[in-house]
C-alpha cells in the first residue's frame, strides 16, 4: 500500500508540469481555471454558470481578486489553464497578478474570460484594451436601447437589453439555434477595426447607444448602433481564446432563469437565451469546439507509397493530410469542403481544394509544375471560429536529367539517315577506290 502511494505521488509530481499547461493537442484535458471574484457571493448568485463549467469537468478555483496570495505561475510554470475575471470593480489585483501578468498568461496560450460592468475599474478597462476592445470611457455609461429592450414590469429605464444579433457561426455558438434573445445589462465596447483577431459575437441593435441613462445627452454618444459590441471574442495567433463582455449580470442565475420578451415582439420566451449562449460560447473558449489538429501529412508519386526526397518536374503526385477537431473528450474527424493545398514557391503555383472522405482524411493529386526550384506544400486553413491550421513542408523540384529526354525523335530521322547513308557510301567507296582497275 505504501509503495502504491509512493508511485502515485511520484507519477503526480512527474505529470504535474504537464497538467497545467495551456491547451495542447497532446494533453487536451485536465483544465484548471482560476476564477477571480469581487466577492464570494458571486459564487452563489452566478452558480448556474459555474456549475455548467464544473459539470463539464473543469476544476474551478475561486479567489478574491485582491487576495494577496493569488498567483498565476510558480517557478515558471503556470498553475492554471484559464482565467475568469468576474471582478469588474477591482482596482488592483492581489498577489503577483497585474495586467502584464495576464497578458503574458494569454501570450503563452491560455484562455481568458473578462466580464466588466457599470463602473468597471480602470484595471478591468485596461485588460479590455489589451485584449483589443475599448469600453465606453464614461464610467456611468450603459448600453441603452429604446426599441430592443426587454419588456419588464419593474425595469423602466431600458438598460436591460434583449439582444439577438449573433455572429453566424455554428462553431462558436453551437449547432442549435439560439431562439430566445440574450438579456444584457452593462457597458458596451467597440472593437478596433484594425484588429482582425477580435470578433463581435453579440452586437447591439441599430437603435442602441451608450450613455449615462440618468443624465441628459448633450454630446453625441461615442458608441452607437451595431458598432456596439456586447460580447466579443478574440482568437489570438497562438490559439489562446478570450471572451470580453461588458455585463457581469448576464452570467447570473437571475438572467439565466428569467423569462424574456423583446419589446415590440409578441413571443414571450420562458427562459432567456443567456444560459445556452454563454454555455456554448464557453465551450468554444475552452477549446471544446473549433480546435483543429493536422496529422499524418503524406505525399508521394502516383503509384508509389514512399515519400521521395525530391520531385522531378511534371511528376504526378498525391498529397494527403488528416484533420481532426477536439470535441471536449476526443478527437473527431473534421468535415469541411474548403481545405486548400498550395504548391508554393514565392507564390502559389498550384492551389487546389482537397477532397474529403468525411472521416478526416483530405487528399488530392496534381502534376508538379514544369518549373524547378524549392517548393513548399502549404495548407493554410483559416475559417471563422476555428483555430488556424498552418502546415508547410519544403520539397525541391528538379529538371529532367540529360538522359531523361526523348531519345529517338522522328523529326530527326532524315539526319540519322543522311549520316548512315554517308557512312555506307564511304565503306563502298573505299573498295571502289582501292581495288578498281
Amino acid at each position: 500500500m505504501g509503495k502504491l502511494w509512493l508511485i502515485c505521488i511520484a507519477s503526480i509530481s512527474i505529470l504535474l508540469p504537464f497538467l497545467c499547461n495551456a491547451f495542447s493537442p497532446e494533453t487536451p484535458t485536465d483544465r484548471r481555471v482560476l476564477v477571480l471574484l469581487d466577492d464570494f457571493a458571486i459564487m452563489s448568485s452566478h452558480s448556474l454558470y459555474f456549475n455548467a463549467l464544473k459539470s463539464r469537468g473543469f476544476d474551478l478555483e475561486f479567489k478574491l481578486a485582491d487576495d494577496p496570495k493569488i498567483a498565476l505561475q510558480r517557478y515558471g510554470q503556470y498553475l492554471y489553464d484559464a482565467l475568469i475575471l468576474f471582478c469588474p470593480s477591482v482596482e488592483r489585483f492581489g498577489g503577483s497578478i497585474d495586467v502584464a501578468a495576464i497578458v503574458n498568461f494569454v501570450d503563452s496560450g491560455h484562455d481568458l474570460i473578462v466580464a466588466a460592468d457599470v463602473n468597471a475599474s480602470d484595471l478591468i478597462r485596461e485588460v479590455g484594451t489589451e485584449c483589443g476592445v475599448d469600453f465606453d470611457e464614461d464610467p456611468s455609461a450603459m448600453v441603452i436601447d429604446h426599441i430592443g429592450y426587454a419588456v419588464s414590469g419593474t425595469e423602466g429605464d431600458h438598460t436591460l437589453i434583449a439582444s439577438d444579433d449573433f455572429i453566424k457561426s455554428d462553431v462558436i455558438l453551437g449547432g442549435k439555434k439560439i431562439e430566445a434573445p440574450i438579456l444584457f445589462r452593462g457597458i458596451g465596447h467597440a472593437v478596433s477595426p484594425a484588429n482582425s483577431l477580435v470578433l463581435k459575437v453579440l452586437s447591439a441593435s441599430p437603435s442602441a447607444y451608450s450613455a449615462n441613462p440618468k443624465s441628459k445627452l448633450s454630446t453625441p454618444p461615442p458608441l452607437t448602433g451595431s458598432a456596439i459590441s456586447l460580447v466579443s471574442i478574440v482568437q489570438a495567433r497562438n490559439n489562446a481564446r478570450l471572451l470580453i463582455t461588458g455585463s457581469l449580470s448576464m452570467f447570473s442565475n437571475r438572467f439565466f432563469r428569467s423569462g424574456v420578451q423583446k419589446a415590440g415582439s409578441q413571443t414571450k420566451h420562458e427562459k432567456s437565451g443567456n444560459e445556452q449562449f454563454l454555455t456554448e460560447i464557453s465551450k468554444w473558449i475552452f477549446h471544446e469546439r473549433g480546435h483543429l489538429k493536422a496529422v499524418n501529412v503524406k505525399h508521394h508519386r502516383v503509384g508509389e507509397t514512399d515519400e521521395p526526397a525530391l520531385y522531378r518536374i511534371n511528376d504526378e503526385l498525391e498529397y494527403a493530410v488528416e484533420i481532426y477537431e477536439w470535441s471536449g473528450t476526443s478527437w473527431e474527424p473534421y468535415v469541411a469542403n474548403d481545405v486548400q493545398l498550395q504548391f508554393y514557391m514565392m507564390s502559389p503555383y498550384v492551389l487546389k481544394t482537397l477532397s474529403s472522405d468525411k472521416k478526416g482524411l483530405y487528399s488530392t493529386s496534381f502534376k508538379v509544375p514544369d518549373v524547378y526550384g524549392v517548393f513548399q506544400f502549404k495548407v493554410e486553413h483559416q475559417k471563422l471560429g476555428y483555430t488556424s491550421l498552418s502546415l508547410s513542408k519544403q520539397i525541391p523540384v528538379r529538371p529532367y536529367r540529360h538522359n531523361e529526354y526523348e531519345r529517338f525523335i522522328p523529326a530527326a530521322y532524315p539526319y540519322y539517315g543522311a549520316a548512315f547513308s554517308m557512312m555506307a557510301g564511304f565503306f563502298i567507296f573505299s573498295f571502289a577506290h582501292l581495288y578498281s582497275k
Binding site: S44, S45, D117, I147, T154, V350, S421, S436
Partner: protein, 698 residues
C-alpha cells in the same frame, strides 16, 4: 495568520457591499419583492437528490424544510428515503449527535414512525450528552434534540435547566456576541444565534421555575448584539462576523440567518417583550429578500428558513409593500397596483395603503398630487389606484406610499416601515408632428428644397447639396397631455457609402426640435468625402412608447477636393465573413511542347537521304567498277580484308555510339580499332602502292 484572515474578511465584506450595490442596480427599483414562484422552481432544481437521497441528514433536513416553507408538494420518494435515513440514524447508537439532531429535525417535518424504544434510547443519549457537553454546539444539538423529542412524544424533562442555562450563558461575551467554546478566544454573531436557540430550548423546558433575571440580562445582550448590525444603502440590515477562524467563517447570509432563527425562537418562548426596534426586523427581512434567488442550496435554505421565522415571529412581523409593475402607461391608462404581503407572500391584516405624494425624479419640487387612499380589490388582493392622477404626464417619478393598519393593536405585531418611496416610470405615446427636412442656401437661409416627413411610416427622400448649403431637420414632440417632451435619445446619423458615420444630437427649444448642419463647417469633419449619405433619425426615451429609428432617405453631397494634408477617414471594420473562406483555385499552365513535323514527312525525307547513296551505287556500276586490283597473294589479301573489316568495325562503333555507348567507351574502342586500322591500312596501302609502282616502271 489571523491578522491576514481578518484582512481578507474585511475585504470580503467590502466586496459584498459592492455586490449588493450591484444587485440594487440590477433591481433598479429599490424595493423588495416577496417570495415568488421563481424561488419554488429554484428550490426544486437545487435540492435534487442524487440517486434518490441527499448527501447528508443536514441536507435532507434543509431540503424538507425549504420545501415545507415554500409549500412545495413533497415528492413521496423523498419522504420515504428521508424516513428510512431518519430511522436508521435514530435506531443506531453510533450515529453522531449532529446527525441525530438533524434526523429529529427532519422527522419533525416528515413525521416518520419511530417506536417508543428508540425514543427512550434517544432521550437517554441526549440527556447524557447534555451532561457531558462542554461547547456550544454540543449544547445546541443535545438540547435541540431533546426539544424535538418533546415535540413529538411529550414526556421529556431536562434535569437542572437552571444550571444548563448558566453553563451556556458562560459563553457570552460583553459585546453581545458568543463564543463556540470556552477555549476559543473569538466571538461571533453566528454563535450568538445558536446560543439563543439553545437557551430558548432550555427556557421552554423549565419556563416557570427559571430565574427571570437571567432572561432579562439576555434581553440586554440581544440589544447589544443588534448594536453591531451592519447596514446597506438600500436599508437592508445584516450581521457579519469579522473575527472568526477562517474555516468557520459563515458569510453574512448564514450569520444573519442564525441570529434571526435564534432571536425568533427565543422571542417565542419568553413572556417578556424583546426590546428590538421593529425597523431592524424590517431591515433584516429586506436583506433576505434583496438576495433574490440564491444559486446555492445552503443559501436558499438559510433565506427560506429565516423568512419563515420572520413570517410569524413575536417581535414584529414585517409587511412588504411591492408593485407588480412600476412601468405604467399613461396612454393605456394603466392602474397603479400595490401589493402588501408578509415576506412569504401571504395576506396582510386589514390595512389601508395611502399614496402620500408623487415627486418628479431628480427635482425637489412639491408633490404633484394630494394624499389619497388606494382602493382594495378583494378579487386580486391588491390595492388599486384606478386612474393615474391627471397631473402625471410621461416621465419618471417617485411615488411615496404609506401603510396604515386598521386595528391599533396590529401596530405592535406588524412593522410597515413608514413611508415607502418607489420609482415609477409613466410611459406614453409621444405625438410627432411637423417633421421636415430641408436644404437651405447658406447666405440667405432661403429654402431650396423642402420635404415633409412621416416619421410613423416609411420615407425615402433624396436630396442633394453642396458644401455651401445647409441641411435642416426639424420635428415637434408633444406628450399626451400636450406638454413639451425632451427625449433622452434624439440623434441624427449620416452614413457615407464607405460606412463612415457622423452623429449629431438634435437640440430643442420647447416642443420644437431642430438641427441645422452647415456643411461648410463640416467638410473637414466629413473628411471631404463626397457622395451619398444615408440619413437616419433616432428618437427614443425610456418613457416614450413609440421610440423610433427611421431611415429618412439620403442626401447627395458635393464637397470640395481634399487638400494635401487633410485627415484620412478612419478605417472601417472588415466584415468577418468575407475575411475567411476558400480562395480561387490556381492551376499551373505548363509550357507547350515544341512544334514538330508529322512523322510521315520525316520518313519521306529519310527516304530522300538514301537517294544519293543509291545514285552513287548506280554511278559506280555504270563506271564499271571492279575489284581486279584486290591482292591475289594470301598475305596482302588477309591484310586488305582485315583493313576493311576494321573500317566496318569503326563504322559499327559509330552506330553503337549512337544507340547506346557513351563517349568514353567509344573512344577506348576507337583507339584500339584505330591502331589496328593504321597498322593494317599501312600494310595494304604500301602493298598497293608497290604494285602500282611496279606497273608504272614495267
Amino acid at each position: 495568520m489571523p491578522t491576514n484572515l481578518n484582512f481578507e474578511m474585511a475585504r470580503s465584506l467590502v466586496g459584498f457591499t459592492v455586490l449588493l450595490l450591484f444587485l440594487s442596480i440590477c433591481e433598479s427599483a429599490s424595493f423588495f419583492q416577496p417570495i415568488s414562484d421563481s424561488h419554488r422552481s429554484a428550490a426544486v432544481e437545487l435540492f435534487s437528490p442524487d440517486h434518490g437521497s441527499f448527501k447528508s441528514l443536514e441536507e435532507t433536513y434543509e431540503a424538507l424544510r425549504t420545501f415545507d416553507v415554500l409549500g412545495i408538494e413533497k415528492k413521496p420518494d423523498v419522504t420515504a428515503t428521508a424516513c428510512r435515513l431518519v430511522s436508521e440514524t435514530v435506531g443506531s447508537s453510533s450515529s453522531t449527535l449532529k446527525d441525530l439532531f438533524y434526523a429529529l429535525k427532519a422527522n419533525s417535518i416528515v413525521k416518520c414512525k419511530i417506536n417508543d424504544k428508540a425514543y427512550q434510547g434517544i432521550i437517554t443519549r441526549l440527556n447524557a450528552a447534555v451532561d457531558g457537553a462542554s461547547s456550544l454546539p454540543d449544547f445546541y444539538y443535545s438540547v435541540g434534540g431533546l426539544l424535538l423529542v418533546k415535540g413529538s412524544k411529550g414526556d421529556v424533562h431536562l434535569a437542572d435547566a437552571d444550571g444548563i442555562f448558566r453553563l451556556v450563558k458562560a459563553f457570552r461575551q460583553s459585546d453581545g456576541r458568543w463564543r463556540f467554546s470556552s477555549n476559543s478566544p473569538e466571538s461571533s454573531a453566528f454563535a450568538a444565534g445558536i446560543a439563543l436557540e439553545t437557551l430558548a430550548g432550555v427556557v421552554s423546558f423549565a419556563s416557570p421555575e427559571l430565574d427571570q433575571s437571567l432572561i432579562s440580562t439576555l434581553n440586554s445582550d440581544i440589544s447589544k448584539l443588534f448594536d453591531s448590525i451592519e447596514k446597506y444603502d438600500d436599508g437592508a440590515l445584516y450581521f457579519d462576523d469579522k473575527l472568526v477562524d477562517g474555516h468557520d467563517h459563515q458569510g453574512p447570509l448564514a450569520t444573519t440567518s442564525s441570529v434571526v432563527r435564534g432571536l425568533t425562537v427565543f422571542a417565542a418562548v419568553t413572556d417578556e417583550r424583546l426590546n428590538i426596534p421593529s425597523n431592524k426586523i424590517l431591515g433584516l427581512a429586506n436583506f433576505f429578500l434583496g438576495i433574490g434567488v440564491p444559486g446555492d442550496a445552503k443559501d436558499l435554505f438559510n433565506q427560506m428558513d429565516s423568512l419563515a421565522c420572520l413570517e410569524s415571529n413575536r417581535v414584529s412581523i414585517p409587511l412588504i409593500l411591492s408593485l407588480p409593475s412600476t412601468v405604467l402607461s399613461v396612454t393605456k391608462e394603466d392602474s397603479l397596483q400595490v401589493n402588501v404581503n408578509t415576506v412569504l407572500g401571504s395576506n396582510a391584516p386589514p390595512l389601508t395603503v395611502k399614496l402620500v405624494g408623487v415627486f418628479t425624479s431628480g427635482s425637489k419640487a412639491a408633490s404633484l398630487v394630494e394624499s389619497q387612499e388606494l382602493v382594495f380589490d378583494d378579487g386580486t388582493g391588491m390595492y388599486n389606484l384606478n386612474n393615474l392622477p391627471k397631473s402625471i404626464d410621461v416621465g419618471s417619478y417617485t411615488f411615496v406610499f404609506e401603510i396604515v393598519l386598521h386595528e391599533p393593536e396590529h401596530e405592535k405585531i406588524y412593522v410597515t416601515g413608514g413611508q415607502k418611496k418607489v420609482p415609477i416610470f409613466a410611459s406614453g405615446l409621444i405625438k410627432i408632428e411637423n417633421a421636415e427636412i430641408a436644404v437651405l442656401d447658406s447666405d440667405l437661409g432661403s429654402i431650396e428644397t423642402q420635404k415633409k416627413l412621416d416619421l410613423a411610416g416609411q420615407n425615402a427622400v433624396s436630396l442633394s447639396a453642396n458644401h455651401l448649403q445647409k441641411l435642416r431637420v426639424s420635428f415637434k414632440l408633444t406628450t399626451p397631455h400636450g406638454l413639451a417632451f425632451k427625449p433622452h435619445q434624439a440623434l441624427l446619423k449620416l452614413r457615407h457609402e464607405s460606412k463612415v458615420e457622423h452623429i449629431f444630437v438634435v437640440g430643442n427649444s420647447g416642443k420644437q426640435f431642430e438641427i441645422v448642419l452647415n456643411f461648410l463647417g463640416l467638410v473637414e469633419k466629413f473628411f471631404y468625402l463626397s457622395g451619398r449619405y444615408d440619413i437616419e433619425l433616432a428618437v427614443g426615451d425610456a418613457v416614450m412608447e413609440n421610440s423610433l429609428l427611421r431611415a429618412i432617405g439620403h442626401i447627395e453631397l458635393d464637397l470640395p477636393e481634399p487638400p494635401e494634408k487633410a485627415t484620412r477617414p478612419p478605417p472601417q471594420p472588415v466584415d468577418p465573413y468575407s475575411r475567411y473562406g476558400p480562395k480561387a483555385e490556381i492551376t499551373h499552365i505548363f509550357r507547350a511542347p515544341e512544334k514538330r513535323p508529322p512523322k510521315e514527312l520525316s520518313l519521306a525525307f529519310l527516304g530522300l537521304t538514301f537517294l544519293p547513296l543509291l545514285g552513287f551505287l548506280i554511278g559506280l556500276l555504270r563506271l564499271g567498277v571492279n575489284l581486279k586490283n584486290f591482292p591475289s597473294n594470301t598475305v596482302p589479301a588477309t591484310f586488305a580484308t582485315l583493313f576493311h573489316v576494321s573500317i566496318g568495325a569503326v563504322l559499327s562503333l559509330y552506330v553503337l555510339f549512337w544507340l547506346k555507348l557513351d563517349l568514353f567507351q567509344t573512344l577506348k574502342l576507337l583507339g584500339f580499332l584505330g591502331v589496328i586500322l593504321v597498322l593494317v591500312g599501312h600494310r595494304v596501302l604500301s602493298h598497293l602502292a608497290a604494285t602500282s609502282a611496279k606497273l608504272k616502271s614495267a
